[in-house]
Amino acid sequence: MRATTVAAGVRGTRHARQGAPSQDHFAAFSAPFGVALIVADGAGSAARGGVGAALGVRAARAALRQSEAGSVDDCRAACEVARARLHRAAAGAGRPPRDFATTLIVATLTEAGAAVAHVGDGAVVAKGAALAVLSAPDVGAFAGETTFLTSDSEIRTATAPATALAVFSDGLERLLIEAASGAPAPVFDRWFKILQEGAAGHDHALSAALRRYLAQPAVAERTDDDVTLCLAVRC
């Protein structure tokens, strides 16, 4: 399957001000089954949330690289592997697992369509016949509350016949999903068209452009959080 991926992450102004690293981590890569997009956002309240996010992405990527079908079961299994990895890291450090708390989104795009396994916030938008939110953020009663991979929360899964996919961290939720209707911003259509003109595999030039886009003041005026956006299109 021929596909293009574009991905970028930018540290939020809050972490920049504190001299702290970004707590978002991501991966976008081609595999025999198609492409995969992974995004994790370490909990700000957790002592090692950023480490948890990095470990989670790495473990999920390694697991998914072994996958033949890139199916929703494989996405879920990759989340389970990442969860086990965080528990091992916590045990090794003599710390409680919640110190490594992170969200995790593992999504694939194959000939069969889009599949996602998801714990916490951040969201997945897919385009089949139309744009739709394939996996919505898991939010609590109050703003900012969510679930984490380390707290044995349910791994939510979804599939859809789709030819384009976007995965992003919670820093972009309010910019790209309309709160009242839950509908994705129309701009995804335009972004997916840009990718169709992109290079096969991971397009580094477009990823650099996306990075500049996420670093512009228009983003920082709306959120001080880390922002990560991964896009994939079947050509």
Binding site: S45, G140, F142, A143, L175, A209, L210, A218
Partner: protein, 225 residues
């Protein structure tokens, strides 16, 4: 060749309403607060307002209400920090703390309902009480309101005693241990409050964010009863 910025200029973003963080300041304005105490409280309030307003994201998210007692008066209902004018408090009357707490909880409930109607996300509300006395009214209902609110995570209730406060009465009332203000360190208290609210209003966590311990040696409080 790729455009300088093919992805856009920001005009494609959705302008959702900011999530709100409602805060009620419950302030004792009984006669016993007269003199240096009320002057320091007024100074602290002014500074608090300036600090919150200068943090642009916190200013968009924190909504302040001020309820004084006694008598119980809603000096300002919830509104954006930018529109808030720090009042100059004047002491009068006794200390109907129980009634004030019940009123503050009701204001908070109504505010949350209006957020829900408007599709606005919100953080867990804070009720922040400052007193130098003991309640002069029946606090049975207030005590239950606080216990229920904390249990249901409907709000967080903090009590701060100023010199002369009945810390035992505050302990009996509050689920969280009350704090005793060191001297008249209202400025330090309000600096902590604005800093904590900035953290809360920008947090993303399933637990309370790590706040500085006000009862640390460098803090503005000593742990109460």
């Amino acid at each position: 060749m790729i455009d300088q910025q093919p992805f856009g200029d920001g005009s494609e973003f959705i302008d959702n309403p900011e999530p709100r963080c409602p805060v009620v300041l419950l302030l004792d304005t009984s006669y016993s607060m007269s003199g240096a105490k009320i002057a320091a409280l007024n100074d602290g309030l002014l500074q608090f307002h300036e600090e919150v307003a200068s943090d642009s994201l916190a200013a968009k998210r924190i909504e302040l209400s001020v309820v004084t007692f006694g008598p119980v008066t809603v000096l300002s209902d919830f509104g954006p920090v930018t529109a808030f004018e720090a009042p100059t408090l004047e002491p009068s009357g006794n200390t109907p703390m129980g009634e004030a707490i019940v009123r503050a909880a009701a204001l908070t409930r109504a505010r949350k309902d209006s957020y829900r109607t408007g599709g606005i996300d919100f953080y867990r509300p804070w009720l922040f009480l400052i007193t130098d006395g003991a309640p002069t009214d029946d606090v049975t209902a207030a005590k239950k309101t606080i216990a229920d609110g904390e249990r249901d995570k409907a709000f967080m209730f903090f009590a701060v005693g100023v010199e002369g406060a009945d810390m035992e009465a505050l302990s009996a009332l509050s689920v969280r241990a009350p704090l005793m203000l060191k001297g008249l360190q209202f400025k330090e208290l309000f600096a902590w409050l604005s800093n904590s609210l900035s953290k809360v209003s920008q947090s993303r966590t399933d637990e309370a964010p790590a706040l500085d311990n006000p009862a640390a040696p460098s803090g503005w409080a000593v742990a109460g009863e």
